[in-house]
Every structure is written in C-alpha cells, then in structure tokens.
Point group: C3
Chain length 348, copies 3
C-alpha cells in the first residue's frame, strides 16, 4: 500500500492529549509492537504488552496517558485515552483511502436488463448483470462481475463485492455488505423420497437480509421452501458458512467461519456461534446463547447458555469431561486393580 501519513496528519486523526519525542519518518504502515519496523505506527492496546513498548522499532506509538516510559531517539509517543479506539479511527481513515467511494454510474460493460431500477447515486461495476425488475438503492456500490437476479431488491448504502450472487426475488435492506463470492438465494436442500428416487421439493421462498448485516466470502444462504430465510439486523456472518432454507437468525448475532445451520432452525438475538459449529434442523437457540467451536447440537438451547462439544453439553460439564477422558487409561487400571484386590481378599 502506497500510503503515507505525516505525524501531523496522524495527530489530526487521533487527537493526542500529549506527545513525547519526535520522528522524522512518515508513517507507512500499522503493525503490532513486536513486528513494527521504522516507519510503522504501533500501539499499546492491552496492558500485558507494556514491556514491548520499550523494545519496539515503531516510529510512532500510541500509548495511554498513564504510560510512563520514554521514547527512543527518532521515536514519537502519542498519548491518547484509548489506543485501540484511536487505531480503529486510523484504520477507518486508511479504509477510506484504500477503497474510495466510486463515482456513481453504471460501467458500460455491465448488462442491465429492461425494467431494472438503479438509483442515480449507485455505482455498478464492470461486467455485472442486473436482471429485470431488480431494484438498487441510493449510493449502493456493486463491484465488478456481480449478479443481481430478477426482482431482487437491494437497499441504500450497500457494498456488494466482486463475484457475489443475489438470486431472483431476494432482498437486502440497507448498509448490507457482502464479501466476494457470497451466494444469496440458492435452492434449499429439500427432496421427497418417492419410488426409490429423490424428487425435488420446489424452493419458492426467498432470502431477506436486514439492515447492517455483513456476510463473509463464499458463504451460501439458501432461499426458503416457501416464506423466507432471514438474517436479522446487525448480524455478522463469517466466511464459508452454510445457512439452510427457512433459518431465522435474530439481531446482532455472530456466526463464525464454516458453521452450518440446518433448515428451519431459529437463532434469537445476540447468539454467538463459533467456527465449524453444526446445528441440526428445527432447533431454537435462545437469546444470547454461546456455542463453542466445532460443537454439534441436536437440541434446543436456553437463553444465555454456553454449550460445548458434540453432542452439545453445558460448558463447565464438557470441560470437566474433557479432563476426565484423558484419565480413562488410569481409571481402567484402577478398576482392574480393585477387581484383583477384591478377588484376592474374597478368596483369602
């Protein structure tokens, strides 16, 4: 990245309450304390890394006001109330520079069918296909080579990255972000077994994605059998997740990578599914429940519960069992010893 910030520009963004030292180098990168090189900016976001500040080669370091160390020569400390928040502000500025809002308009190579309605402030990238009846909202940015099917509706201020596929009749509300190669509205996996063959059950519902949802690269969300598959406001879905037909995900949930949710399962608000979790179909996961990585659930979960393992087990119990299972060889030995001793004493 050919970005470069003067220390003055950095200070304008993070607004330090005080400074120590100085550097002549412009800032070209952000790095952790341990990895930073001259020309990098770093930060003390967690007190446990305090000793690393004295050793870092970073040219600029964001430190909290109570940090009492002194910078090395050609090194600048900027004292800020919350270094992690300051980094987020810097990153947001870098993000704007790296991905400037494209100019509104439709790339001449895009294929726009008759009857598609595209807001004048939207930007449609090269080689996109927008089918008839599709609606694209204000300021929405669709990158190159995306597909928006017949009658699909995309709201305002969405960002759809290259290669995403939004099938016919599906709906994205506002400020939705899709990473590359997401598939919205593939057919649900439904068959009836008739005379030795699997006959397809038509999947004629759609997918509805509410405001402020983000969906990771390669994730697939199936359309409903009928009615709809739904992702609630503010929920965030990671890469390569599978969401089956008629799943309902509540508001502000997190679903980590490679997790799979089977048909008609419902997540209430604020549920967290870690990576590679599998949920059977028709389950109900209560508000705020947390499911740890690789867990496999076949039963409902109470609100607020933390569940681990396959089959899903209350967290503390599963942790205890995981310790005890390592002692199974010992336990078999102890039971064998008891049997021998008892036999010996019985025959004595």
């Amino acid at each position: 990245m050919d970005l470069s910030f003067t220390t003055g520009q950095i200070a304008d963004i993070v607004k330090p309450t005080a400074t120590r030292g100085s550097t002549t180098l412009p800032v070209r990168n952000i790095a952790s304390l341990g990895e930073a090189q001259p020309g990098d900016l770093s930060f003390l976001g967690n007190p446990k890394y305090k000793p690393e500040v004295a050793a870092t080669a970073a040219s600029v370091v964001l430190v909290p006001p109570d940090y009492d160390g002194q910078p090395k020569p050609d090194q600048l400390f900027l004292l800020v109330p919350n270094p992690s928040a300051a980094i987020a502000q810097l990153c947001a500025r870098v993000e704007q520079l790296l991905w400037p809002k494209p100019a509104p308009g439709i790339h001449p190579s895009a294929i726009i069918e008759n009857g598609a309605r595209i807001a004048a402030s939207a930007a449609i990238g090269a080689l996109c296909v927008i089918e008839s009846g599709a609606v694209i909202g204000e300021r929405t940015h669709i990158e190159a080579q995306c597909f928006v099917g017949r009658n699909a509706r995309i709201g305002d201020d969405c960002w759809i990255k290259t290669g995403a596929r939004i099938a016919a009749e599906c709906e994205l509300r506002n400020r939705v972000r899709l990473q590359s190669n997401v598939v919205i509205g593939s057919d649900g996996f439904g068959y009836e077994f008739v005379s030795g063959r699997h006959e397809k059950v038509p999947q004629v519902g759609n997918v509805l994605i509410h405001d402020d949802v983000e969906i990771g690269a390669g994730t697939t969300i199936d359309r409903a059998r009928f009615s709809r598959t739904e992702i609630g406001e503010g929920s965030k879905i990671d890469n390569l997740v599978q969401i089956a037909h008629n799943v309902i995900i509540g508001k502000h949930c997190l679903v980590c990578a490679q997790t799979g949710i089977s048909g008609s399962t419902v997540l209430e608000d604020y549920v967290v599914l870690a990576g590679q979790v599998g949920l059977a179909g028709h389950l109900h996961i209560g508000k705020g429940a947390k499911i740890t990585a690789q867990a496999g659930l076949q039963a409902n979960v109470e609100p607020g519960a933390t569940i681990k393992g396959t089959p899903g087990t209350p967290y503390m119990l599963e942790q205890r069992i995981n310790v005890l299972r390592l002692r199974l060889p010992e336990l078999f030995q102890r039971v064998g010893d008891l049997e021998k001793q008892f036999k010996k004493s019985a025959s004595a």
Copy 2:
C-alpha cells in the same frame, strides 16, 4: 414476489375433494400455520399441528379429508387427500412462474469460442464463456456469468446457475442442476514430497456427473488424478461440500452441507451422509449406509449400517457412550469411594 392466485386457480391445481367456507382474498404467499397472515395459504401436513389450524390466520388452508374443524369467517378450507403433496404441486407451479424457461438463444454478451457446439434450443446467459470443443445439449439453460471449459460436455435439460464453473473435459449428463458458484473439475490435491518440497502430481482425469444430479452452491468437485471422479444418477449434493479426486458416488445418494469426501473413497447407492461429515480416503461405504452429522470415518462401512461419531461407531453404541460420558464425573467418584472403602476394610 408479486404472485397472486385466485381460489379458483388454487383449486384447479390441488383439485380438492370438498371445500368448506370461502374467502374474498387472493392468495399471495404460502406459510406455515403459525406464521400465516390473511392472504396466505397454509396446510396441515403433519397431524401433530392439528390444533394450529383453528388458530391460523391463513385465508386458505389445505386439510386432509378427515379433518373435522370449521373455517373462520373469510377463510376457505380445501380438503385434499395429501396436503403435503398438494403443496408440492402448488410450489412447482410457483416455481414455473418465478423461473420461466428463458427463450432459447445465446446472449450477445456471451463469449463463445470457435468450435463450441450449442443446441439451438439451449439458452446461454449474459457474459458466459463457452470454450472451444464444449458441447451444450437441448433445452439446457446456463445462467449469466458461467464458465464451460474446453471440450466440456453438458447434456439435455440441465440448469446451470450463475457463477458455476465447469472446467475443461468434464461431463454433465442430462437434467443436472448446478447451484451458483459450483466448481466442477478443480485439480485434485496431490503432491509428492521430493527434496523438502511438495511437487505437484498432475491431475489429468475429469469429472462425470450422471443424469438427475443436483449440486449445491459453492460445492467443489475435483477432477481425477487420471480416470474420473463420478457422481451417480439421481444423487443430490448440498452446499459447500468437498469431493476429492477419484471419489465415486453411487446412485441416489444424499450428501449434506459441508461434508468432505477424501480421495478415491467409494459410496455405493443410496448412501446418506449428513452435514459436516468427513470421510478419509480409499474407504468403501456400503449400500444404504447412513452417516450422522459431524461423524469422522477412517474405516469401511457395511451396507445398511448407521454410523455416528468420530471415530465412526455403530449408532446405538455411540448413543450409549454419549450418555455414559456425561456420567464420567460420577464414575470417577464411585471408583474413588470404592478404593477408600476397600482400603479401610483391608486395614480393619
């Protein structure tokens, strides 16, 4: 979806043996009994939901002939021998309306290399690439932005959804459906370790997909090292499944989402793999075997067996172990108690 059916149109499709009540509303959606609103059609597909019929707000309800309740005002009951089958007929009609067969022809933006042969009745979408030597059969529909590589062959009446990739030399027979972003014919993962480096083993076989197979969004099927990777007639593969080189899947199998099948493993006919299953390479899974979700198999499976867990274990045994493992804390306690009692009695 801007679809609307009069009750007369509905009756023409489901052919009720009798009716009760009437409604003035056209039907605009299908929904479950509990979720239905006025203007929706619902159905009693499973006797356990019988009490929900009296409470539903649906305007039209399909019920079996022996259902004895009465409709509310402005509500119509249609008595049909099999409400689930009637819903499938309705959905099939909706599917035809939602996805009408496109007119035959090649979109002017598609890139068709010299030497590709495309049936006159086929429909090729915008911005597709069809390479030289590829063959596309009668009435096959390839949606926008798909890729069909050199010498690939696609049979009659296939439906290839947007973003699917069919690599060179691969073959799809008839009535095959690929969901979006499927990859057919990626290289198998084969390397030889030589002098500290992984040298690529060329993957020069292909993929052969038989009649009536459906493959889910984002699924990847590797070409064979040589010879072929094969998916048998009528088998259905869900989303984000990985099928490695030289795998042979029999007829009428079901493979659920996120399952992975390693190289050269063979599934006989009618095998069912649930979600997130992992199969090691070179296994043989017997006819009609069922493997439950998240199971991890490293050994062959007999025909008709049901296998659960990692490592794969006969279903009933694994169920029993899953109960007993929860009692490990108790078992350790009991053995400790026995040891103490025995020691005490021995020293008495």
Copy 3:
C-alpha cells in the same frame, strides 16, 4: 479426452530399460490395474498390487525391472526403474496437451483499467477485470472471468483459474496457482461490541502469497486487520479452506480441505493440517507438527508433535482413549458389580 499415444510415443516419455510383448492399440487413457480396459495404460506402483498385473486388461503396463511376469497377447510391458515416477512424467505430458499455454495477449472482452501493467507475455482471459495499478507478471495466465483489484500484484508464471478473486492491494509472488473461485483478500471478521451492536473494525492489511503456493477451489483468505496475512513458499492449500486475518503460514505446509484457521495463528514450516481441522486464534503450531482430521485445537503445538481429537490430544493417547471409550458400558458394569460385591461382603 481425445488424446492418443502410440506405444512409441509412450516409450519416448518413460524411457524403458527393456520391454516385453507388444500391442497394436494406441493408449487413450491411464487407469489403475483393476479398472483398466484395452487401450488403457496402467502401472505397478506398489508391490502389494503385484497379483493384479496378471489379471489387468490394460494394453500397456509399466512394471519395475524385477517384475518377472509375462504379458498376455496384445499386451506390452515397459520395464522402468520407478513406475510411479514414470506415470507422473506421462501425466505431466498429458497436462501440457490438455492445458496448452495460451498465446500471450489480452482477450478483447477483458476490462483493463488505466494504469494496470500487464506483461506482454501474460495471457488474460475473456471477461476478466484488471483494475488500475494492478501488475501482472511474465507468462502469467489468468483464465476467464477473474478479478484483480486495485494495486494487486501478481508475479511471473502464475496460473489463476476461472472465477478467482484477488482483491485490492494483495500480492501473489511467482508460480502461484489459484483454483477456481478462490477469494484472496476478503475482509477479516473483526468487530467491536459497542452499545449493543457489532461495530466493524476496518481491515486494511493485505494478503501476501509467496512463490510456488497452490490454493484450492473456493478457499477464502482474509486480508489482515493491518500488516498482512501470509502464505509461505511452497505451501499447498486444498479446497474450501478458511484462513482468517493475520494468519501466518510457513513454508511447505499442507492444509487439507475444509480446515479453518482463526485469526493471527502461526504455522511454522512443514506443518500438515488434515481435513476439517479447526484452529483457534493466536496459536503457534511448531515446525513439522501434524494435526489429524477434524481435530480442534485451542493450545499451541510443539514442533514435530502429532495431535488428534477435540480438544487436541497427543496422537497415541487419543488413540488409546478412543479404544477405551468404546468400553465405557463395560466399565460402568464392572464398577456396579464391584459395588454390589463389596456391599455384600461388608454386610457378610
């Protein structure tokens, strides 16, 4: 595949030290001994398949010099020091025929933004999008419908297959192969929980892929929060793998299908992750460690260790536990018996 080799052409490639018998058929396919048909070439790569040579229908068989059997009528044996190596040479030749290097140049349908620099010897396929500032090296082949974002850099002799997405600012060094629908540089999954909502943490780093890396179909590699996500020289990644932000993979690692690696985890050189493995974030996996299929790790791994299971356990211990867990029903029975016997003897 319409390929055909005369036996003379085969001999030119594998350079046999001696021959036995002869065949009039040209070779049209390579197959295992058991599956081979007349017109196929097969080989004895592993002594355990020796009995299959006498039974094979292959027209040409590669055998080691010490194989003493005689060919059937119309069958040719070619004696070669290492039949497996000879097959690899043949496959490499077939690969060249199946995928000839395309002529250099840019397909007229590709969209090349101003300021992209493409080597004259590179080949850019139909309907690709190459954004401004992107750099494409010598002899690199980018198949149809790929995306290369702003300022992305791709080195020499790379092969990028149809549908791959290389996002802005990411870098591929030399001889990198991407299979179809790979996503390089999707956003990392980072949010801060503020006032009941998940606020996006900008992801402004990139992805760096070193020489001789291959990445499988549908795999997703997230850009770093800042700094970079990195895949070391010679490492090979299979299909549908998820690699999160700031992961560092060393040299010559193997990562099998559907494995997921969480943020900031580091793999040293020569690590092997089998299929469907899950690694938590911020772990350190030592040089040459092997992690078996479906394992779930939440702790660091020593160099050279072999780890199995969830939670990750030393291989031999996990194997033993997997045997003992099958005997849990028996163990509960034995403890119950002991309790009864002890009670009886105590009351005696």
